[in-house]
Amino acid sequence: MSSVNPTYHHTPDRLKTELEWIERAKGDPRHFAPLYEKYHEQIFRYIYQRMDDPELADDVTSQVFFKAIKNIQRFEFRGVPFGSWLYRIAKSELNQAFRDRKAKRTINIDMQHVAVFMEVFEQEENQINLKKLKTALVALGEEDVQLIEMRFFEDRPYKEIAEIIGITENNAKVKTFRALEKLKKIFFKK
């Protein structure tokens, strides 16, 4: 999936380099530049995936980095990549944007994902079933939608999902499975 940055999980060397950038950024915001360069695209894609306006997505992305720089002093490396910290800011900023009614919560689906769901649900790929899937996604709880989005629409590994949400990998698997079951239940509900 193009929205997933393949460098989210790093080799020890790259992680070390990144930690050096973070330490320098703590001393001077201008040294945040390589981190911005590195994570800008994936944060923008994460936000735009959940919004319908690229300009608003651009603005929210800027807010995320603004807040990251302002709060970089608080960041402590505890084995979780810097990217997951940014995702958590992004998630928070998105929610703020939705609350302020500045942006509309959007779920973007490719037809290939629809095909996967229809296969899982053992249903024919047609207009009626697409409508049912859309209705089910609208009715699903936000947390479940996020899990479905990250796992099935963005193809993120469970480890990354767990780090973004702040739960264990195993817990992410269980929660995602339950979210899928809920979606299925709503889909087949008359």
């Binding site: 894609r45 709060n71 919560r105 490719d110 936000e142």
Partner: protein
């Protein structure tokens, strides 16, 4: 309360586009402009802050004296926010991801039919197309009301305005007729039972020769072949209302023909009998053969047979034995009409014996060989005829059996008809009438494509026409700058001679691929602003290598289907 919006197959944003948005300095300026600690007035939370106005105000904001601590400095906040939601189905059932009107606010209207019940409906559209919804075809209750929407696309204008994708197999579609069908109840699409599909007779705008029938995959936006029959290609108009009866009649007629063929074979056999030994002067009963002397000059026909000629007494002559038990003083060979007889006599009496000449010796061997060959030939013919006759007799018997079955089915049906209640009889008559109206509608149409479906959607009689060669870079440059101050989003070339539209910038072909054939055409451009511009071309010379290319601009609100139709010389009247 927030609603969620579901978007299918949104255009992908490229990494290059995202990179254009990358601006670290902008963020850094905001960070520098913001006082530390960050104030409680969450000015940066405002999305507008990151717009032009907000950025222009950074310097001014820096001057503001603000106090307090940012409540959001703990970045693990807001984890448990759950958006309130309501189920919002914004799109009407007829809206599909791949069918979006090209001009904002301009769409081709549907003909709408508010129908009640699931007991069968027949609808005739304004262009003569007919839709037959059989009883029980829809997954709704017997008394439920529902809305059927249908629209036909008789020309290029209507297909363009509605936003129907018209590319297939690397070419652009020339349409011979197109229809879109949708049905809903309470905002939900109604399913059609696959075992009981609806039947449609789509009125065609041109002869169907060379055209194929397609259905649009609403989800992928691609056209797929779909089965249909065309009334202008065969006897599809002759729709039998009684299949059993028609089949039985056909079988009876076939059997009559079979009977006639059998008779012909029998006649052939009778006219080609096996050769007789007598014709070859071959002996049949050696005990009845005897030799007599005759004058070869008196019987030249016997002389022609050679010297080795004897005579055989014809069978069933009781006097034969008596004649040979006594002595005769004379005998006399006689010939009359090709038949021979021998008269034996003495002074007291005479007796006559019918005979025929037979061969012997080498002549007999040659005659026997000729006879055997001739016999085998005829026998072979007989065998062939008899085999054919047997086949025909079996086919005849099988048809008889089928006719008997059909008659029995009909009889059962009649019995069932007789035991129907009055309500059932009324319903059956109603359905029969619907079918009849549908059939009449097909017959009344000059030509139509007839199909059945258990899916709503868009169905099309079409053939792909190849795209023209792209212009050179200079012409494309002139086209891109033909509307000063405006950016071109999509380009459409309506070829009035090939009766097709070519699309650039919306599908697989970009603006750089624009080209026209040397035909009368209309170049229509959709601008980023939402407005439209066009140019009527009498041929390729009007655009190719024309550095001063100018297009006529039209504001979106002033554009409608009538304007497009007048440009394309099409005359549809839209309600």
């Amino acid at each position: 309360m927030e609603n969620r919006k579901i978007v299918i197959n949104r255009a992908k944003v490229s990494s290059a586009e995202i990179e254009k948005r990358r601006n670290f300095n902008r963020v850094l300026e905001a960070v520098n402009a913001a006082p530390s600690p960050i104030p409680t007035t969450d000015f940066w939370k405002s999305i507008g802050f990151w717009g032009q106005t907000g950025l222009a105000s950074i310097a001014a904001i820096a001057l503001l004296k603000l106090n307090g601590v940012n409540e959001n400095q703990n970045l693990a906040y807001d984890e448990n926010i759950t958006l309130s939601k309501s189920i919002s189905i914004e799109e009407l059932p007829q809206d599909t991801p791949c069918i979006q009107p090209k001009i904002s606010g301009v769409d081709l209207p549907f003909e709408t039919f508010n129908l009640i019940g699931n007991n069968g409906h027949q609808i005739t559209l304004s262009d003569g197309s007919s839709i037959l919804i059989p009883a029980g075809a829809l997954e709704i209750g017997q008394e439920d009301n529902f809305t059927l929407r249908a629209r036909t696309f008789p020309d290029k204008s209507s297909a363009f305005i509605a936003g129907i994708p018209m590319d297939h197999d690397g070419g652009a579609f020339e349409s011979g007729g197109m229809i879109e069908l949708r049905a809903e109840r309470n905002g939900e699409i109604i399913a059609i039972r696959s075992e009981n599909p609806i039947q449609v007779a789509l009125s065609l705008t041109k002869p169907s020769d060379g055209f194929q029938f397609y259905q649009l995959n609403d989800l992928s936006g691609e056209w797929q072949s779909y089965p249909a029959t065309f009334t202008d290609r065969s006897n599809d108009k002759n729709i039998s209302e009684n299949a059993n009866n028609e089949a039985a009649q056909k079988l009876l007629s076939t059997n009559k023909q079979i009977q006639s063929e059998i008779q012909s074979i029998q006649q052939e056999i009778s006219q080609n009998p096996l050769p007789k030994k007598e014709a070859y002067q071959l002996p049949i009963d050696k005990d009845r053969i005897f030799k007599i002397e005759y004058d070869a000059y008196e019987f030249p026909e016997l002389a022609a047979l050679g010297k080795n000629v004897e005579f055989e007494a014809l069978p069933n002559q009781p006097q034969y034995n008596a004649m040979f038990e006594q002595s005769w003083s004379y005998f006399d060979l006689k010939e009359q009409g090709g038949s021979f007889s021998v008269v034996f006599g003495d002074n007291q009496k005479k007796m006559t014996l019918k005979v025929r000449p037979v061969l012997k010796g080498e002549a007999l061997v040659a005659a026997l060989s000729a006879y055997t060959t001739a016999k085998q030939e005829v026998e072979q013919k007989h065998r062939r005829w008899q085999e054919k006759q047997k086949e025909l007799e079996l086919a005849h018997a099988a048809n008889e059996e089928r006719i008997a079955t059909l008659k029995a089915t009909q009889k059962n049906h009649n019995i069932m008809l007789d035991i129907r209640t009055d309500a059932q009889k009324e319903q059956d008559a109603y359905l029969q009438n619907l079918k009849l109206q549908h059939s009449k509608s097909i017959i009344n149409q000059q030509r139509s494509a007839n199909f059945q479906t258990s899916n709503w959607g868009v169905f099309n009689v079409d053939r792909p026409i190849a795209y023209p060669t792209p212009f050179d870079a200079q012409t494309i440059y002139a086209l891109k700058h033909a509307v000063p101050g405006e950016k071109i989003k999509e380009v459409y070339v309506f070829d009035l001679e090939k009766d097709v539209r070519y699309a650039f910038g919306s599908g697989s072909r970009g603006i750089a691929d624009v080209g026209v054939f040397n035909n009368e055409s209309v170049l229509l451009v959709l601008l980023e602003s939402g407005d439209i511009a066009y140019k009527q071309l009498s041929g390729i010379k009007d655009i190719s290598n024309n550095p001063s290319l100018q297009l006529t601009p039209v504001k979106a609100h002033a554009f409608d289907i009538q304007l497009l139709q007048s440009l394309l010389h099409e005359g549809r009247v839209v309600a």
